[in-house]
Every structure is written in C-alpha cells, then in structure tokens.
Amino acid sequence: MDNESQYSGYSYKSSHSRSSRKHRERRDRHRSKSRDSSSRGDKSVTIQTPGEPLLDAESTRGDDRDDNWGETTTVVTGTSEHSISNEDLTRVTKDLEESTPLECKRFVGPALGGCLSFFALVTPLAFLILPQVLWRDALEPCGTPCEGLYVSLAFKLLVLLISSWALFLRPPRATLPRFFVFRCLLMVLVFLFVASYWLFYGVRVLEPRERDYRGIVEYAASLVDALLFIQYLALVLLEVRHLQPAFCLKVVRSTDGASKFYNVGHLSIQRAAVWVLDRYYSDFSVYNPALLNLPKSILSKKMTGFKVYSLDGNTNNSTGQSRAMIAAAARRRDNSHNEFYYEEAEMDRRVRKRKARLVVAVEEAFTHIKRLHEEEVASSPKHPREVMDPREAAQAIFAPMARAMQKYLRTTRQQAFHSMESILTHLQFCITHNMTPKAFLERYLSPGPTMQYQQQNGRGRQWTLVSEEPVTSALRQGLVFSLRRLDFSLVVTVTPLPFLRLGEEFIDPKSHKFVMRLQSETSV
C-alpha cells in the first residue's frame, strides 16, 4: 500500500496468497530499503516504480474491496495498524453538513487496521484455546510453568491493548492524497507475522495434533512478544522519529505575504503538509481578501497617453513596440507612490479615530451593568432591580456600542467575519466571565488566527497539495511545495537546519577583576 495507489491495492491483495509471499517480501525489502535511504538523508528521491508484475497469476481471489481499493484516494492519518477509528454516526452526519462530500473510502484504512489488530490480538488466545477444544484428552498436562506463561501472556496482552488504545486509537484528522508509507509498512509487517505464525501453527500443531501443550503456550507467548516489538517499531516510526527537528520550513501565504518559520523533523511531504496546516490554523492571521489591493485610484494612472504608431506599414514588431512603451513608462516621472503614502496615512488616521470611538463606547457600555451577588438579592424593596441573565444583559448594553462597532469593523474591512449575532454571543461570553471591555475588544482590534473564525467558514478544509516530487518522498533541502485553496495558497520551502559545532570555554569565577580606567587612554 506504499507506492502509487492503484498498485498498492493489488499488492495487498496478493499478500493473501501464500505463494506470492516471496514476491511480497522482495517488494517489502525494496520498500524498506528505499525508506532507509531516505531516512539516512540521501539527496536522491526514491521514486518507486513498479518494476515487477504486481498481479500474480495465482492471486485471482476476487475481493469485494477491489473496486474501491484501487483508486487514488484517501487514507486516514492519526491511526495505525492497531487503531479503530471512531465511526460515529454523529460525526458522519456532521461531515454531511459540510460541503465536502462524505467519502466512504476515508474509513477503509482504519477499518482495515482495526480488523488486523483485532485479528492479531485474538490469535494468541486462539492458539491456546484451539488445542483445548479440539483434542483436550490427548494433551499432556502442564503445571506450574504453563501457569507462569499464562500470567505473562495475559499481562503482555493487556499492555498491548492499553498501549494500542493510548497511542493509536485516535479519530483521524486528515486524509492524505497518497498512502501513509510507514503505516502501510507496519500493517504489512503485522500481517506477515500473524500469517506466518498461523501457517506454522497449522502445519506443526493442528495437523499432527501436537501434544506438548507447554510448547504451544510458549509459541503463543513468542507471538505476543513479537507483537510488542512491532508496536515498539510503530511507536518509533510513527511518533518518535519526527520529533527531533531537522528542517526549517518557511511558509508564506501567497496573497499577502504573511510568513512563518517552523522546525520539523524527518517527515514525508504529505505529513509535513498536514503538520503545516495544523500550525496554519492557529498561527496565521485570518485571510482577508478585502485587505489586499492598492486602491484603484492609485493604480489606474499607469499607462495613460502613450500610443505607438507604426509608420512602416506591415512591420509586425509587437515586442519592439511593447518594449518601447515600457521604457517610456519607466522614464516618465511617476508620482503614484506619493498618493499611496498619503492614502495610507489617511487610512491609519481613520482607523485610529474609529478605534478610539469604539473603545470609549464599549467602556461606557460596560459601566451600565454590574454583577449581582447573592447577598444583594433581598435588598431594598423600594428599588426593585430587574435581574437579567447574561443574554439579556448583553442585549441591553449592545445598543449604544453597536454603531461604533459597526463603523470600526467596516473601516478595517472585518465586517464579513463578525455578524451581529456573533458579537452578541461574544459579549454575553465576556459578561459571564467578568471580562473587562479591553478583553472584549481584543477579538476585534486585531485579526486573530483562522481558528477563531472557523464557524463562519463552514466549508473549509479542502486543501490541495501541489508538488513536483511524489508526495510520499521525504523532505530534503531545497524542496518546494504548496498547499492550495480556492483563493490563496501557502508556499512552503524546506531548508535543513544548520549543523552546530558547540565549543567550550571555562571561565574561572575568580578571574573577574576590574580596574578603574583613566578617562581616556590613547595608544600611540
């Protein structure tokens, strides 16, 4: 399931048949070798071309999954071979509400992983139970050593279960364009192990009806040990390896140039993309299309009054003409920068004035209400106060500040992000939590990260990863990829972190001595 998607499906399918295991192992070796090279930091990109025939003549088992599996779509991150995804109905319906259509293919991966892990966990128990069920009388009795093995088996299974739950049982957070290399490797590995153990079991234990029960129990225990080690491998590959920072990613938003630098470890391009997007939603200020362009009045005066006439009849020298025009325009004195400067200054002033009005209005509004404490309830009956809940209190004080707020939002072009309802809700929230007017205004005075506006952008999380390299290849120096949405894109550049040579210098604490300096001392 590693390389370009359609083949991966077939490779998985062919793993069912025993005789093609050699094929599969060879391919796995290829795959793991190529991954080793990328993890060693090779500069070459491994593009896995399917050199061998992937569909054997023997593997003709018609799988139902075939039709869906072979397409270039989705596998879920955040889970691994021991995971069971939350296929909640509620989440499914929530997905339906978004405009991105629900893809059933999204859950094939985790479902597969879940089945595999269940199969792997049940296998040792099956190994133990089957002889008891089938030929109990013929078994040799096995006393204390077996009981010891039972106990250790039980605890190891428990540890396996708990750590699988802790590490891998998470709702998926992203769907990647290609399959997640390490996870596929691990699933294949688990399947290999379990299948080969079953094979051996079937040939050596079930057929001849082996009587040495202790041997069987030890066999099951060795399988559980192997599973624990595979889980260790999974932990290292999926969780630990990318923790140590190795690359610095520069993320630039294409429309307004907002940029950030992040340190990441060794990841593939698609995983790095998911990582960057996670950070994007909480670090970058929200994209405001209204704030982008220079006002038309400044730019429109560009190409006035320079027409080129060709006197020689048919000489089609268009490039020469345009070049002449550009040269002339460059030579002409251009005062648009002046206008831009004054326009910006004017804009700043306007924003500051509106902001001052808004702050004053909000401060005044907040003085109109105060929190009612319990002991004041039974106060003087002569002045009955109307007791309000936060919603009503918010509505009561919203009126005087509404106009100032609206004008401010309009000046800073934020009116698309805040509706009346949202402002009221926020006001209610602030009143409930005893926030000051300044805390209430924090949300409007500076554009927050995109996460803050998520409810408004209900449709939003469809991103396209644009890259010249295959997206499962590892990050390396000089790689550039971009994440595109409908109206803007994030361009990511990869540079490796510099190698640090740390030296040492010891300073004796007694060596700090000082003398008075003459006022000036010149050396001649």
């Binding site: 008075m516 300096r517 003459l518 006022q519 000036s520 001392e521 010149t522 050396s523 001649v524």
Partner: protein, 128 residues
C-alpha cells in the same frame, strides 16, 4: 614634581629615544598615554599630585619599541621632540607623538624613582 602654576617646574628627566615601528600602514611606538589639560586629573593612578594634568604613560606593549627604549609605565612625559607636553590637551599630545613624517621621537620623561636616585647619589656624594 609638584606643579605650582606660574612658577617654573624643575624635575629630573631622563632622555629616551624611541624608534617608531612600521606595522602595516601605521607607525607605532608601543605605549598608551593618558591625561591632558582637558581630562580629569583625579583619575590618574600614576600621579603623586592629583591636580597634575600632565601626560602620563599608562600602558606599555611588551616587546614594543617603547619598552626596548626604556620607557616605563607611570612616566610623565615632559617634552616630545622639543615640544612641551606639560600643558597640552590629550589630542594635541597624541598628535605630537604620531606625526607621520617623524621616524624617531625623543622624549624627556620623569618618574619618581629618578628624583630618589639623584637624591641618593647626591646624598652619598656629600658624605665626606
């Protein structure tokens, strides 16, 4: 070496001749000076009289021409190539020492030990 304004100063001086060393583009002498009439005399660690605004040698580069010629730290420079250094600003003193067209500076310097040496020798001379 106390300095009474208006009265002539009489001290015992030593004549020191330093050849400038060529180091790249500069001619260096290998010592640092401090003091001057525009500086604060109270901060001078080498002067006996803390109102003495003369030019003192504050540091000698080891192995430099000044050390070879016999200049010591704490010497007060009285004359440089005939120019007086007792009533000059710091910058004037620097300029007189670092003239580019002179290869050799002849200093008249004084230090406390000179007076004592003279007194000692005069004292020993006077004993019958």
């Amino acid at each position: 070496m106390s300095f009474v304004p208006g009265m002539p100063v009489s001290v015992v001086v030593e004549r020191i001749e330093i050849k400038k060393l060529c180091q790249g583009d500069n001619l260096i002498l290998g010592f640092s000076i401090g003091g001057g009439i525009d500086q604060d005399p109270g901060q001078n660690p080498f002067s006996e009289d803390k109102s003495d605004k003369g030019i003192y040698v504050t540091r000698i580069t080891p192995g430099g021409p000044a050390q070879d010629a016999g200049l010591r730290m704490g010497d007060k420079i009285m004359q440089v190539n005939g120019w007086d250094m007792t009533v000059v600003t710091h910058d004037q003193a620097r300029k007189r020492l670092t003239k580019k067209n002179e290869c050799v500076v002849r200093l008249l310097v004084t230090r406390k030990s000179l007076e004592q040496a003279v007194k000692h020798s005069m004292g020993s001379c006077q004993r019958p």
